[in-house]
Structure formats: C-alpha cells, structure tokens
C-alpha cells in the first residue's frame, strides 16, 4: 500500500513540474518571433494579417491559448518544425535512439570503471593505484567534456585513424520499428566508442570519489567488523556487506546525475556531430526553430521527471529500511 501512496504523491509532483515546464514552453512560443511571418511572409496587408490572427486564435486571451496548447501537447501535438517541415515530436522520436545509445554507452563505461576502482580505492587507500586514481580524478574533473572529446578525436581519429570522429555510421540495426541501435554491429560500436568515453569522462571522477568515500565510511561500521568476526571471506564482506550499503547513497546521487548527463549529451553530440537530441537542439537554436526548441524542453522535462521517480523507486527497493517519502508508515 505504501508503494501506491508513494506513487500517487510522486505522480502529482510530476504533473506539477510538467505543468510549470509547459507554461514556460508556451510563453517561449508566444515570444519567439511571429508565427505569422513564418507562415505567410511579409507581403500580406495589415487587415489580412489581423483576420488571420483571429482565425488562428492568436488574439484569444492568454489562458485560452495556453489551454489549447496544453490540449494539443497532451495529444502529442507540439507543433511543426520550421526546418524539417514535420511534426516536432516525430523529429524528436527520430533522434531519440541515438541519444539513448550514447547514454547507455557512457553508463556502461561509468559502471564498469568507477565501481571496481572506487571499491579498490576504499579497500586499499594507500596502494599506488588508489593514489593514482585519486590524482587522475581531480585532473578529470578539471577538463571540460568538450575538450576531452576534442582530444579523443585529435588522437584516435586525426592522428591514429583508429576510430571514426563523427556520426553513428551506416550499419545500424533496427530492433523495433523506428528504433535503430549501433550496439549490434562492429561499425556501430566503433562509432560509439569515442563519444561514450567523452561523455563518461566527466562522471568517472565524481563516481570514483563518491563510491570511495561512501565505502570507506561503510567499512568503519560495526556490522562490517561483525562480518569479519563471523569469519566471512573478504570477497563477501567487501562486495556484499559493504558494497550493498554503499550502493544506496550512490544511487541517490547517480539519479541526480541523469539530468547532468542529458546536459552533457548536448556538448558531446555537438563535438561528434552525433545525430541525437542534443545536436538537434543546438541546430534548432541556431535556426530559431521554435516548435522544435519547445518540444525538446518539454521532452527533456518529461525525461527528468520520469527518471527521478524511477530512481526513487529503485532506492526504496534496494533499501529495506527506508520509509517511502510521504507514505504513511
């Protein structure tokens, strides 16, 4: 029952946040350029313009217009992209899988590198590897993601010629209609390598440090001493008793990072000309493609709200002691 109450509360919050975002999106639409000019150009008389405005409902009260906008948005109609001449949501649906590929690629690298390294740094803080990892992490934090990306391209594409420097490649595999992934072919993966590394580079230092400090704290706890006193194998003490307790704060912080990850996809995709949402957004900004800009903001807002709720849910599943926020206990 607690889960249901919790879900309802989160859902209400999500609706509220989406409402605010849609309001922002709508007011942008109202202020960015004149929709009429986009449609009919300059060579139309003032009277005709006024008539057209009336017909399109542009002279209606703000609230009425907003209500109409909201109604359309809920039905999946966020306007038509000026540049692509297609519904904005269709354009986003086209670009979405590319960004998901990139995020998954980066997430795989982050988990595979930061978990073992973070644990190692906590278990053997004085070893040379731990010292090197901690030193490298502060350098890593200090290098902006787009510079890492440029450096990777310069080294592996321009100089060594090992890996492609832009795009997703030709051999994508369609796993469901309209959803293509690069993970299933060698060429696709070779295109994914550099962008994924670049995107993960900004999170690796953060996660290594976080896992290290949390795990060090856990290793000091009585229940870890007790686990040793029970004669358990080091593997079990570290990777079950300690790690499972380390995981909770890491998930919380990790959840917050999803927002940051999306922001960094914009930078990474721009450098690698990766045909995903971020690159599309920056192009839309340059072209002042208002419907696409608004659609992007709303979709990104939706992603935030959904992922944050999911992270909270996972958290409660992993941690048996947590009382669901806002749920009657």
């Amino acid at each position: 029952m607690a889960i249901v109450a919790f879900l309802i509360k989160r859902l209400l919050q999500a609706v509220l946040v989406m409402f605010v975002i849609s309001l922002i999106g709508f007011s942008i639409q109202d202020n960015l350029g004149d929709p009429l000019r986009e449609l009919v150009g300059q060579a139309v008389s003032e009277a005709e313009r006024e008539a057209l405005r009336d017909r399109m409902g542009l002279n209606d009260p703000f609230l009425e217009q907003y209500w109409r906008f909201l109604g359309n948005a809920v039905q999946g109609d966020l306007g038509v992209s000026y540049h692509f001449k297609r519904p904005a949501l269709d354009v986003i649906a086209d670009k979405f899988p590319a960004t998901v590929d990139l995020v998954i690629g980066a997430a795989i690298i982050i988990v595979l590198v930061s978990v073992p390294l973070g644990c190692w740094c906590a278990i053997q803080p004085r070893s040379w590897l731990s010292q090197a990892a901690m030193g490298a992490s502060i350098v890593g934090i200090s290098i902006p993601v787009f510079l890492t990306a440029i450096f990777l391209i310069y080294l592996f594409s321009v100089n060594l010629g090992w890996l492609p420097s832009f795009g997703r490649g030709e051999s994508l595999v369609e796993i469901v209609p309209g959803w293509k992934t690069g993970f299933l072919t060698g060429e696709g993966i070779s295109h994914l390598v550099l962008p994924s590394i670049a995107l993960s580079s900004i999170f690796l230092p953060l996660f290594i440090r976080l896992i290290r400090s949390e795990m060090m704290e856990v290793l000091e706890q009585d229940y870890i001493r007790y686990a040793w006193a029970k004669g358990l194998a080091p593997r079990r003490v570290w990777f079950l008793h300690a790690f499972k307790n380390t995981l909770l704060p890491v998930i919380t912080v990790g959840g917050v990072q999803i927002g940051l990850m999306l922001a960094y996809t914009i930078l990474t995709e721009t450098v690698f000309q990766w045909p995903g949402l971020g690159f599309m957004f920056i192009e839309a900004v340059t072209r002042v493609d208002t419907p696409l800009i608004i659609a992007y903001i709303i979709v990104v807002g939706l992603i935030f709200v959904v992922t944050n709720t999911v992270v909270d849910l996972i958290y409660t599943l992993v941690n048996p002691t947590v009382r669901l926020v806002g749920a009657p206990s």
Binding site: V17, I28, N31, L32, G33, I138, V139, I141, S142, I143, P144, V145, F146, L147, I150, F151, I153, Y154, V158, S165, V256, G259, L260, L262, A263, Y264, I266, L267, T270, V271, F281, I282, V285, T286, V288, T290, I293, I297, V300, G301, F304, N308
Partner: protein
C-alpha cells in the same frame, strides 16, 4: 564587521598558513593561479595587440603556426588564429573574460544564495518549503541544462547580433542564477542551528532585530564552508562559461573567452592547425586544475561540514 574580521584572521591564522607553506601542491596551485590572475589583469600590457580591435587584425596573418615550428613567425609566439589574431594576445584577453565571468557569476550565486538561505531558514514554513523544493528541482534538472536552455531561448528571442553585445552580462546572470542552491542550503542549515540558540530569544527580548543579530553570527560561522564552495564554484562557472561559449551560446568570436577560442579552432584541427585549439585548452585546463587543487586543499584543511546532497 569587527567580528567578521576577527573570524577571518583566526581562519587564516597560523595553522592554515603553516600547513599551506608545507604543502608543495597547494603552493604550486596558488602560484599558478596568481600568475594567471596577474596575466589576465595585465593583458593589455602583456599582449602585442588588442584582439578585440578589428583595426589591428590582418587577415593575411591567419593560421601562422607557433614560432618553434616551420613557418612560425617571431611576432606570433603561439601562432595566429583563422582571423589573423596573435594567439597569445587572444588567450590573455580570453583569460580575462573567463575569470571575470567566473568571479562575477559566483558573486551573483553567493548573494542570491545567502539572501535566500537567510530568509528561508529564518522564516521557515511555506517560504522555506518553496525555496528548498525549487532548489531540489533546479539541481535535479542540472544547472548546465538550465543555462543552455535559458541562453538558447534568450538568443532566439533577441537575435544573434544583439545577443553578442549582451553575452557577458547574460552569462554572468544565467550562471549566477543557476547555482544558488549550494549556498542557500549551507546558509539555511547554519540559520536553523543558530535559531535554536538562546541569544536569538535574548536579542528579541531586548528589542533587537533577531535577523540582524543572526546574520552577524551566521556569516562568520559559515565562512569556511563558503570559502570552499566558492573556490569550486569559480572553477565550475569558468567551465560552464567555456561550455556555453563552445556551443555558440556564450562569448562571440569577436570578443572571445577561452571557450570561444577553443570552439573557433575546433574545425581546423582536421586541417592541421592544431594550435588554435590546443593552447587555449591548455590555459583553461591549467587554470581550472589550479583552482580545484586549491579547493581540495582548503576542504582538507578547513574541514567544514558541508551540506551533503
């Protein structure tokens, strides 16, 4: 104010200075930072030309490599960019812009954060709940994302030309507005702790305004966490500015920051003009690394109980 100065003296007192003098990493980082700030301040005297002045730029000088490579010219030690600007001068002026934006943005953050933190902590109730929820949401959405969207919308609304004139102000404001929650949370936690203490009641009884009294106690108490946060925040603000400029949402090429210099050189690394991107990048990374190392060191030495989350 005397209280504050006393506190500051104590903070920077013998122990901190002693540990500072014995730490080679902290010393080096500090020396580099001072050198960079000086270079930024003295840019007009150190550079051979003013890269913001179109009259001094000769397009015929474009893409000259650094002086130690074949084809380099002594007049341009680090070479020139595509427009024929001396790269060293451009970097010095760019450094100036990056540091100015970083410092001013952090000042905006701090002012906002302190005011909101004090108000939120002191009033409590709905005001507090509102600001803290706002902080949560803002952090969840990531500040860089908000900055990108805000600047993108603003740029689309006012047009690229007007935007270029306004860029520096907009960058300070947007980066400033995006990052207040860190400060607000620290201050608020401190207010909540102070509120419980008796002197607040005592002050009220003798007719003094409690907020004034509290502010006088809270600001000195939060000095060390604020110092640590600010160091890291300046580095972050400079990175954010560089990222925004790289995306074309920051400083224009006519008045480049380090980020826009890197951005302008990016497409030329494929054709071999590696220096246009490389040297500003090295400057940027060194600057941020020095600030971050100092911040790390400060965190270890002052060991403030920073708000977790």
């Amino acid at each position: 104010m005397t209280h504050l100065t006393a506190r500051l003296t104590a903070l920077l007192g013998s122990d901190v200075l002693y540990r500072f003098r014995r730490d080679p990493v902290a010393l080096t980082a500090f020396a580099i930072l001072v050198a960079f700030v000086l270079a930024a301040l003295l840019a007009p005297w150190l550079s051979s030309m003013n890269p913001h002045d179109p009259a001094q730029i000769d397009i015929m000088n474009s893409e000259i490599p650094p002086v130690w490579t074949s084809g380099g010219e002594a007049a341009f030690p680090l070479g020139t960019d595509v427009q024929g600007r001396d790269l060293l001068s451009a970097i010095l002026y760019g450094l100036r812009i990056s540091i100015v934006i970083g410092v001013f943005a952090v000042m905006v953050q701090m002012t906002l954060g302190i005011v909101i933190g004090l108000v939120s902590g002191y009033l409590g109730g709905k005001v507090d709940a509102f600001f803290m929820r706002l902080a949560d949401i803002q952090l969840a959405m990531s500040t860089l994302m908000l900055a990108i969207i805000a600047l993108a919308v603003f740029k689309a609304a006012v047009g690229a030309e007007f935007y270029e004139d306004m860029a520096i102000v907009m960058l300070v404001l947007v980066i400033g507005f995006a990052e207040w929650p860190q400060y607000a949370r620290t201050i608020r936690a401190s207010v909540l702790a102070e509120k419980k203490k008796e002197y607040v009641d005592a002050a009220r009884v003798i007719g003094l305004s409690a907020p004034t009294i509290m502010a006088r106690h809270i600001l000195p108490n939060t000095l060390s966490p604020l110092l640590v946060i600010s160091t890291v925040q300046v580095a972050n603000a400079i990175i954010s500015e560089a990222a925004l400029s790289f995306l074309g949402l920051g400083m224009p090429v006519t008045m480049p920051s380090l980020g826009s210099l890197i951005s302008s050189g990016f497409e030329y690394i494929f054709s071999g003009a590696w220096w246009i991107t490389t040297f500003p990048s090295i400057a940027l990374i060194t600057l941020i690394l020095a600030i971050n190392l100092l911040g790390d060191w400060l965190r270890d030495v002052l060991n403030p109980r920073l708000f977790k989350g």
